[in-house]
Amino acid sequence: MAQSLAKKINKNLVDVRDLHKDYYTVAGTISVLKQVNFSMDTGDYVAIMGPSGSGKSTFMNILGCLDQPTSGEYALDGNQVAKLSANALAQTRNQTIGFVFQGFNLLSRVNLIDNVALPLVYAGVEKTERQARAKVLLKKVGLELHMQSMPNQISGGQQQRVAIARALINNPRLILADEPTGNLDSSTSEEIMALFSELNQDGISIILVTHETEIAAHASRQVRFLDGRIVQDERSKEITSRLSMEAS
């Protein structure tokens, strides 16, 4: 009921219908995703949970336009992703989506400011503007003193902040975070999750993959995968009430 209420006030950002994903191996066909239906509104904050091998990472990769489903439909911001060319997919990853990975995935030979500015290179932005925008975002994640440092000179938590800044640089509509706190200790994890909550309050939609319930609790909606299917999909109570209050 809360979902249908939210739909009225928010535009539909992610819409997945009847999604299948099969992998073909020598041992035979493995169905990783089976008939997955999922939709998400702009501004929502979703945590995807499930044990290893449940298909949550594959689902994330398809949502991130890095992988293609075997069958089914995926519309991102109203566009059918299957119809997009390779270049359009790259542009979508560049402009609409921001990725945050478990292993941070910063370029090790590149200093922090250039790491943050890298997506702008592929967006064709001039150097001075790239640097200026990267500076603003590094300041936002509290790393303005480390702009010229290399990734291996800062801590894991700081590296993840840099990765988040990089994900934000093109003002994406959707942040996809795959186990963003998986390599971090609990206090650093809390800092990162606080940052995500702040971003969500700024209006950015977030999908977060995790297997920790405490981390998932930060999201407003929890989706649980098991054996390639969504087995549970519920909203946190206080957030549901907040949404309904805003709606009224």
């Binding site: 990769n61 991130g64 890095l66 992988d67 390779a86 270049n87 790259a90 542009q91 990853r93 560049n94 402009q95 990725f99 990975f101 995935n105 910063l106 370029l107 030979r109 590149v110 890298l118 997506p119 290179v121 592929y122 967006a123 064709g124 150097k127 990089r166 093109n170």
Partner: protein
Amino acid sequence: MFSAMLGEAWRAMGANRLRTFLTMLGMVIGVASVVLMMAVGQGAQESVKQSINAMGSNLFIVLSGSFTAGGVRSGSGNSSTLTVVDANAISELDGVANVAPISTGGGQAVFGSNNWSTTITGTTPAYLNIRSWELEDGFVFSASDMRSATRVALVGKTVVDNIFGDIDPIGKTIRIKQNPFIVLGVLKSKGQSLDGRDQDDTIVIPLTTAQRKILGNQFAGSVRQIIVQATTPEMMPMVEQNINALLHQRHKIRDGADSDFFVRNLTAVANSAAETTRTMSLLLGAIASVSLLVGGIGIMNIMLVSVTERTREIGIRMAIGARERDILLQFLLEAIVISVIGCLIGLALGISGAMLVNKLAQAAVVISGNSVLIAFGVAASVGVFFGYYPARKAARLNPIEALRFQ
């Protein structure tokens, strides 16, 4: 965008300096050897060309035949069958540019207390045109000198060095076989001929003077040889045929009888010499190109390793929005930057190597803009050609697999 990518390429190269250097080394050696080999090859061609030009172009030599006395046959050029009149008749033929009858003989030149035995060449002023021989100083004897058999002389550089030393020879009187001659001019140095003779060791005097006063031919007006210059290389076969026909007629030689003269085509000798050096420089270039090719394969090898090593980086770049062509361009640029820098170093090495060869071996080298341009172009194309496959391999990576790559 492009400058950012160039910066990326530079950074990637800097990340593993030793490997970049070794990769470049292949290119450096390739380009350096191409430049050096081409410089040496072209130098050799150039010096042969100079020798040929010094000899004169499109030339025939008509030699008088041998004579037989008491069963002993003399060599060619010793009978007195060719005459100045023959030379005049040849000059009337189509396609003949210049004709110079020549009589030569040995003789001693004396100036003051110095003497020097040299070759005395009696000829007409046309001889100098045919041999494209200019004067360093003074002037050439005239047609009236020819008519009145004046005792005037043009002296070669070697003769000047040996009997005059530092004294200016113009207007001085030398004695050749006891006859006083006034030195009218000094011939420009021509150096060695193709067969190694010192071409500057000679004294040129009017043919008439030589015949009457110095060489003492048996028959007045006979000459040892006639040099004929055709107007163009294409005319040469026709001119040769016509000379043969003319002299047969003039000397009243019946069909089938032995000729009393020979016609020699000098261009054939020159052409074969030029051909030899051309083949040699082609060969040198081919050998050098192989090393360039090997350098290119080295670049491809390293780029393939680099793509594999940086698979994860490629995955990250794709995840944040790099298109296939961005990745392609990045790796291609890296290969091109390596080959172009390698090429520049190779050029510098090759050119200094060529200069060293010039200094140490005294061999002529020619570093032409063309060879530098070719080496540069080849290096850039080697970069593109051998960089393309690894770059395409990188661009075609599946983003997911690239991201998972450890």
